[in-house]
Structure formats: C-alpha cells, structure tokens
C-alpha cells in the first residue's frame, strides 16, 4: 500500500498557523513579486478565483469580498515543510518527498492503513496546525487519485483508502473524474485523449495499454498499468539529483539599464553557484534569460535566452559569471523595459564523480576560495563577501509588500504575544 499525504492549501495554511484571524476568511498568497495567485483558501476557491490568476485581474473581487492578500513567505513555508516531512517519516521508513507539501509513504506491511491515515491527519493538525488529506492505494498513480477523492468527498473526512472500496465503487468514482486529473497526464495529453474518446479516468483505465504506448509513449502505458494496480513507479527513496538549478526573479519595477541587468545577473549567478556547491554538483552549462512584461500589451514584448557551455564542469561563481555576462551582452537589447531575468545551471554532475580534466586548471584553489566565502557568509551575513557588481539593497528588488514575518527562522521576527491582552 502506498499513501500520498498532502497539505491542503499549503501556503495559506502556513500563514494561518501564526495568524488565527485568517481562519474562515478568503485568503490568497501571491507568487514572487506579488504577481499571480499561487495558493487559495477554500473560501477563496469558492469565490471562483483560479490558480495562477494575475492579481490585477481580481482587484474588484478583492475589494467587494474583503479577500486577504499575502506575499509569499518562502522561509516560513520551507521550515514548516521540513517539520511536516520529518513527522510524516515517522509513519514509514520509506518516504518519497515529492514536493514542498506532499510525500509518498510506503505502507506495505501496515495492516490498518486507514487508521494510520487518520492518525497522520490528527498528528499534523495537533503538532503543526497543518490540515492534510491522505490517499491510500496499491500504486502511486492510484494514491494520487485517492487523495483527490479524499479532498472532494467530505464523507471520508480527509482519508480515502481505495483498497477498502469495492471495484464497482472505484470504477464509479473513476467514471466521474476528468482524465486530466490523473497524475502525469498534462493538459495537452488530456486534449489528445479526449479526441480519441477517452474522457474519464475509467476510460483511460480500460484502454488498451499496448496501443496507447504506440500512440502516447511509455509513460502513459505505465500510468494505465498503475491505474490497474500494477506498480510501475516505485516509491523513490533517494531524492534525485537536481538536473537544473535556477534563480530568477521579477523586478520590483521594470528596468532598462544594462548595468542594472548586470547587477541582477550577478546576484542570481552567485545564488545558483552557491546552490550547486551546497548539493555538491558541478554544472556543464549556464543559461541566461531576460524578458519584458508579457501582460503589457501596448509595449513590444521581448524575451530571449542563451545557453553557453562552460569550459569544464564547475560551480565556481566567477567562472560561471564571466560566461553568464557574456551571454547577457549577446541577448541584451536597448530601449526595452525588462521585467524579469534569471540564470539556470544545467547538465549537473556529481562533484565526486567527475573525470579528470586533461589540461591543468586551478580548480582546487577556486573551490577553496568559494568554500571560504561560503563559510564566512553563513557565519556572519548572507552577503558579507560578494562580487562587486552585486548590490546589497538592489533598486530592482522584488515587491513583497504583504509578507508575514519569518516566524520560525529569525530571532528578530518571532511571533510577539502581548500578555496584557
């Protein structure tokens, strides 16, 4: 048996933990730079607010219903997520952390999976104030689907165990769920499936796997087997190496100047190089992208990106930056109001498994230098030592006008309770 546990409206739930006033009210959390809606409370969902809606499109709705709008507070969400994952790991030695707010637990050998599901739900609420739903089924794809059912059907009180339901009942449920809800079936695939008469999950389950493999590829074939209780995607215990490391931000306000873009690219390059060093990987490629605001229809929309091969796999800030800036020079166009830029490292390889480079390079000295810088920055302040083109307080800093405090990660920002009240 495999269980999928996920936190309902995770970002909103984290905000509610430290602000009880947000209960029973429509609350939304915005993406970086206060752009789009990325988490909604149930009350906000009922008002018809869709995931990914840009904030400016629902200004009126916000006013008339008093919707509470918050900037995203990732330090808080990451800390709560870590705590939740550690608590969940106590229910099974085999846990796959699938995203910031969900994980698979291998419950094989567990004789009372439904009761375990109830305990999980209770424990996460009591310990962390996180409301969760649990889907239990023989395969990951079915567990995802069971979780979907647990959310939609209040009668199961947040835990749905497919193995306790009859085949007829499961088929009945599947016939009512849109095929696009199946794990791994994207919108494009769902459209194609509809064109050949597959509308519901049940239709997909009963389709001919071998024929579908020819038409849609091996992953859909595996999905069909999984819907028929054959495990094709085992619970993956090792977190796979991140194949890409990205750092990108929208700017607080549009910038035209090349020098400001250099500042931003330097900042993001430092970040990706640091991330890559933290996970002990080296990158083979660096990409840079810049773009203007796609929502401003009156203006010319420009975006471009470039990928450069690094001379050898590396995580050295300076080397990566020299190429990133070369790339920027290449794709930069004057007289454009840029709204966003970013740096991506790809072709990541394990640091310990690198091949020796034919021509001697001073990688050892560089990596020691980076190590010293990282250590100092951890000990004192994030940006004690930085490259000269990286500003401390950038003018293009993103807008986060409605961010809550870092309640759990900063001594300066603890929850303050006035005992007089």
């Amino acid at each position: 048996m495999i269980a999928l546990v996920d936190v309902n409206n995770f970002y909103v739930s984290c905000e509610r933990l430290f602000n009880p006033k947000l209960f029973n009210k429509p609350v939304v959390v915005l993406s970086n730079n206060d752009g789009c809606i990325i988490s909604r409370s149930n009350e906000a969902k009922l008002l018809g607010i869709k995931m990914g809606t840009p904030l400016f499109k629902i200004k009126d709705l916000i006013k008339s219903f008093g919707i509470i709008v918050l900037s995203s507070n990732y330090p808080l969400y990451a800390d709560i997520s870590n705590r939740a994952m550690i608590l969940l790991a106590s229910f099974s030695p085999r846990q796959e952390i699938y995203s910031i707010d969900e994980c698979f637990l291998d419950l094989s050998g567990n004789r009372e999976p439904y009761i375990t599901g109830q305990i999980i739900k209770k424990k996460l609420w009591q310990y962390l104030g996180m409301p969760v739903c649990v889907g239990i089924a023989p395969t990951k794809t079915l567990a995802k689907l069971a979780n979907y059912c647990a959310k939609k059907q209040s009668e199961w009180s947040g835990v749905c165990n497919f193995s306790e339901l009859s085949i007829v009942k499961i088929d009945d449920l599947m016939s009512k769920i849109n095929v696009s809800e199946v794990w791994g079936v994207g919108n494009k695939t769902a459209d194609k499936l509809r064109s050949i008469g597959i509308y519901s999950v049940l239709d997909l389950k009963k389709s001919d796997a071998i024929y579908m493999k020819k038409k849609f590829g091996i992953n859909l074939e595996k999905t069909i087997y999984e819907l028929n209780k054959t495990i094709c995607f085992p619970v993956n215990l090792k977190t796979p190496l991140k194949k890409q490391v990205i750092s990108s931000r929208s700017f607080g306000y549009p910038i035209e100047s090349y020098n400001l873009l250099v500042e931003a690219i330097t900042t993001f390059t430092s970040r990706v190089a640091y991330k890559s060093r933290q996970q002990n990987t080296l990158a083979e490629y660096v990409s840079v992208f810049i773009s203007s605001n796609p929502f401003q229809k009156k203006r010319y929309y420009y975006r471009n990106n470039i990928t450069l091969k690094l001379p050898y796999p590396t995580n050295d800030t300076n080397l990566i930056l020299s190429l990133a800036l070369e790339g920027l020079r290449f794709i930069y166009k004057a007289n454009i109001k840029y709204a966003k830029c970013g740096v991506v490292l790809s072709g990541m390889i394990d640091e310990s498994k690198t091949q020796a480079y034919l021509w001697p390079v001073k990688t050892v000295e560089r990596s020691r230098l980076n190590q010293v810088i990282d250590t100092i920055n951890v000990k004192f302040d994030k940006q004690s030592i930085r490259l000269a083109t990286q500003p401390i307080n950038p003018v293009w800093k993103m807008k986060q006008s409605r961010k809550s405090q870092s309640f759990t990660t900063s001594w300066q920002e603890l929850l303050v309770v006035n005992s007089v009240q």
């Binding site: 009880p20 006033k21 310990y127 020691r368 000990k379 603890l414 303050v416 309770v417 005992s419």
Partner: protein, 193 residues
C-alpha cells in the same frame, strides 16, 4: 621474442604523475587514524592549507548551537590522557529545553501579566504544540484571533485563563468566543548580556 619483450613494458622515463602534483603539492603518507576523526583531519588539512590565518568553523545556518564538551583536553603527542575514557556526551541546550522539536516554536512575550510565574517582558518562551494542555499549564491560546499567554484553569467545565499578576482579571471563555489552545509553554529563555 625475447628481444620484443624487452622493448615492451618496464619503466618509461617521464611517464606517470609528476612528483608532488597531487592536491597537497608535497609527498603524502598513508596513516591509520580513527574512522570518526577522518573528517576532522581532512578538514584540518584543507583549512591549514587554504589559509593559515583563518580559523574557520562551519556552523549550520539553522537555529543552531555549539555543544560544549563535558571535558575536553588538547591532543598532545606522548602520554595519552587518562580522562579520554571518561568523556561522556556533550551538553545540548536543545535537548534540555525541547522535547518534540518538530512541534516546538519560539514566541516573544511583551507585557507584565505573567510576571508572577517568572515570564517577564521581552522573554522568549518555548511553545510545544504537540502537548495537550491540562489545567495548570501555561498556554498560548487564541481568543477571537488574538494570541495570549495565560494560565489555564477551569471553572464548572468552562475554561478560564488566569494572569499571573493581580492587575489583570481572569478571562472566562464562553461559547461565543472563538477559542483555541495553540500550544503549551514549557519554558522560557532570558538573556542578561
């Protein structure tokens, strides 16, 4: 055949790694060391090479602590310390103050309403959310969306929140209030310097 053999194999001058081309830049030697110390020794070597002027210790970015040894002595060549066998474990304030670390939060207190039990203005209290509150506990509770820290007591199956200061009256919890006990306060921290 024999002639051929002589031409193949054997030493070739100039082949192989160059002397002192390793990462340390000098000859190295294989030694036996305790497994648990391998990391420290490597770190020492790297650091002593990287920069003799820096004394670097890596600390974790999270809410971390430096555990203190019960007894620590310098390693010296010669006679082994007779105290080595008696080093037991490191004292860890986290272990002393925190039972369930995933459910523990820190909260800063303002005001003097709990001064009678030793919670002063600006103290940081430790809140364990995993514990079920019982009468007599100091709790962090929310009443109609506002947090407060009080002593939990009850009066005829009704909750009451008591301050530890005569200046403040008890709060009777009734059904019209939105009341929730957020967590139990298990300790407080005050720094003097």
């Amino acid at each position: 055949m024999i002639k051929n053999k002589k031409q193949h194999g054997g030493l070739r001058s100039g082949a192989g790694r160059r002397l002192n081309s390793g990462i340390y830049g000098e000859p190295t030697k294989v030694i036996r060391v305790p497994k648990s110390k391998v990391f420290d020794i490597k770190k020492y070597i790297i650091h002593s090479q990287a920069a003799n002027v820096f004394n670097i210790t890596k600390i974790k970015p999270s809410l971390s602590y430096q555990p203190l040894n019960l007894f620590e002595h310098k390693v010296s060549a010669g006679f082994p310390s007779p105290a080595d066998d008696h080093v037991e474990k490191k004292l860890d304030l986290n272990e002393y103050l925190i039972k369930q670390k995933e459910a523990t939060f820190f909260v800063r207190i303002k005001g003097d309403s709990m001064i009678g039990i030793g919670i002063h203005d600006n103290d940081i209290v430790i809140v364990d959310k995993s514990q079920k509150a019982i009468t007599g506990d100091i709790v962090l509770a929310s009443i109609d969306g506002d947090f407060t820290v009080k002593l939990l007591s009850n009066n005829k199956s009704k909750y009451r929140l008591l301050a530890a200061n005569e200046k403040y009256k008890p709060i009777e919890i009734n059904k019209s209030m939105q009341f929730e006990i957020w967590g139990v306060i298990t300790g407080s921290i005050r720094k003097f310097k």
